[in-house]
Symmetry: C2
Subunit: 405 residues, 2 copies
């Protein structure tokens, strides 16, 4: 008998009516002969409501108490889902992170799972009982309640699946699966059947935010097949697995994008050790996340450096950049908070230099200026004016034949 771990997010358990639908989905998987363990998030906006309560008391929240508070959200969901399952005649039992137990380090709010005790879960599964496990939470060596960070229920699900040696970890969500690009932008975007972990990592990190990055990394590390599918309609969804299993990998799997970028360009910096540090360290010291970094080859002892940040950080970064400009009196500098990043992702890219050629040809045909380029093994990212983003994505989706394959 196959063993499946299913994870349902907050929107899927947002009300008693929806919880009943989740129970029906679990029963359906059981009817098809699978053993099922379930991981759930907190109901809808309950985490935000709890946060609001705490913030009414003080802006300075203690991390230990915040975790104890937020963990109640999932505890409500598991009790209700177990109740709903039992109401349909399916034996079920709820478990908090501490009850499982899911042991973590003591980094409240962003704890890492260290081990999972599968004893009670395995006993339940052997007896035909559905264990319903609170996502997002664990317990540290001192018995303190911890949380593993927002979106962490995905990670809980993968960790449980790995610990139970499940056949598959299913992430049931409000989308049908992973698409070649955002269907809201490209109407004929296609739901992918299969995808490699590597591709999903590049896509998840880039705006196709159906899955939490740490969960994909975890699944990749332990080679646990992940399936993203709809919690509301029957569909096979997208299977995310190792490159070897994703046999017929396409050259390009999908196109991801980020609208809200801002670029900073330094021209004519001295080509000396430590120059890049002088530019970038003040930014990271201010806890601003830098996304793309492009450094050109040096010429005449001079080099150019560009980087991008999230647009929300534009004003603060601009201030830091201006200080930097004063350090290097002879340079040119400009910045632009109206840019967007577009990434073409695919494991097939490794051996196909043609992907870049198609990219630049398409941009040239469309008359779209490519402002910056950076590449990884399975990804090419370009920066364009935000005004051209939509046209760029559509044209590339067409060029790579993503809709028709």
């Amino acid at each position: 008998m196959s063993l499946i771990v299913q994870k349902y997010g907050g929107t899927s358990v947002g009300s008693p009516a929806l919880i009943r639908r989740v129970a029906a989905q679990v029963n359906e998987a059981r009817a098809r002969g699978a053993s099922v363990a379930v991981v759930v998030s907190a109901m809808g906006d309950s985490t935000d409501r709890l946060l609001d309560l705490a913030r009414e008391l003080t802006p300075e929240l203690d991390p230990r108490e915040l975790d104890a508070l937020l963990a109640t959200g999932e505890q409500v969901s598991i009790a209700l889902l177990a109740t709903a399952l039992r109401a349909t005649g399916t034996p079920a039992r709820s478990y908090t992170g501490a009850q499982v137990s899911i042991r973590t380090d003591s980094a409240h709010g962003k704890a890492r799972i260290e081990s999972i005790d599968t004893n009670r879960l395995q006993q339940d599964l052997a007896a035909g009982i559905v264990p319903v496990i609170a996502g997002f939470q664990g317990v540290d060596p001192q018995g303190n309640i911890t949380t593993i960070g927002r979106g962490g229920s995905d990670t809980t699900a993968v960790a449980i699946a790995v610990a139970l040696s499940a056949d598959e970890c299913q992430i049931l969500t409000d989308v049908d699966g992973v698409f070649t690009t955002d269907p809201r932008m490209v109407a004929n975007a296609r739901c992918l059947d299969r995808l490699s972990f590597e591709e999903m990592l590049e896509l998840a990190g880039q705006g196709s935010r159906v899955l939490h990055l740490r969960a994909v990394e975890f699944a990749k590390k332990y080679n646990m097949p992940l399936r993203v599918r709809s919690a509301f309609r029957p569909s096979a969804g997208t299977l995310i697995c190792s490159e070897e299993s994703a046999v017929e990998a396409a050259i390009v799997a999908g196109i991801a994008f980020n609208r809200d970028e801002a670029e900073f360009n330094f021209f004519g910096l001295p080509d000396a050790p430590g120059t890049a540090v002088k530019v970038l360290k003040p930014v990271s010291d201010a806890n601003i996340e830098v996304d793309m970094i492009v450094v050109s080859a040096a010429r005449n002892g001079k080099t150019d450096l560009s980087f991008t940040v999230h647009r929300d950080d534009y004003v603060q970064t601009e201030r830091i950049a201006q200080t930097c400009v004063r350090v290097f009196p002879d340079i040119d500098f400009n910045s632009n908070n109206g840019v967007a990043k577009l990434s073409v992702v695919g494991v097939g890219m490794r051996s196909h230099a043609g992907v870049a050629t198609v990219l630049f040809e398409t941009m040239a045909r469309e008359g779209i200026n490519v402002r910056l380029v950076s590449t990884s093994e399975i990804k090419i990212s370009i920066l364009v004016d935000e005004a051209h983003l939509e046209r760029a994505v559509r044209a590339l989706h067409e060029s790579y034949g993503l809709h028709s394959r």
Copy 2:
């Protein structure tokens, strides 16, 4: 340094603003030099809101899942109160029942506390940290979350106080203390300074519902002084302690009453073994709680039996009583759902036969018919027409000099 356990009920922690007031109260006790451990209930109506969610799923709630669900209510309160205390600079730490751990049997919804591990609490207290403990909940030997029944936070507080060998267990609530009778009925009702456990048990069981009965029993068993006082204003409240400590025990401590009673009277029943069983068993089989039972001495092989139930159970009990009437064809029967019970309570009563005399004299003077009488060691209860209850309570409060002492 004295050690005090304080318990705050749901109305005292009903909002962030109120939780801040509770934190201030805790700080005040610490400022007076006490070490303080705190037990809290769920916020306001949160338990009812959780119940409503579960009932939307199914009317048949699984007891284990219901306990897991309801226990989140107190977990929210402890995290918020610990947060509020820390915001005032007072070190504090929240503990669920499982974290303490408060070990109970597995009787979900009405579990009994079996033992309490005081290790972490004592470490905290020694380090000047305020442990903030979830009331009402525990953990069974299998690690399942249990609840010890509604109103059970009082019991948790007493059990924690006993386990820590505290000097006093304070129940902070929305009244100033235990009164000689309901101040809403008798304007000059007096807040008692001291009361014995026995008196409190009789009063608590009779309508002066400021304290949960099991908590008083627990405190009596371990001789833990209990203090009932206002969560909202400074006052010494009422100290409930052993009879020996309550040195100047008055003859009559107070007058309790229950408005909503219904009486059933059987006249001329055969004076034979099993007669009372034939009358009362069908009632208790229907899960109807019988309050007073009065059986008269037999005469000519006949006896009379009366009992009372809560008025809500009148119609069902009347139906059962009619069946019973058919079993004993020669008897007379009547019932009345417009009666009220009044109880005079006081340990001094044991050696003072005069208490009953004053009672009957007062009723005679007021022209109030005493329908039934039953007595215990420290209590005399009478049944009167509900229309006369208020007059009866006021007259007796006067006769026993309860306001002026």
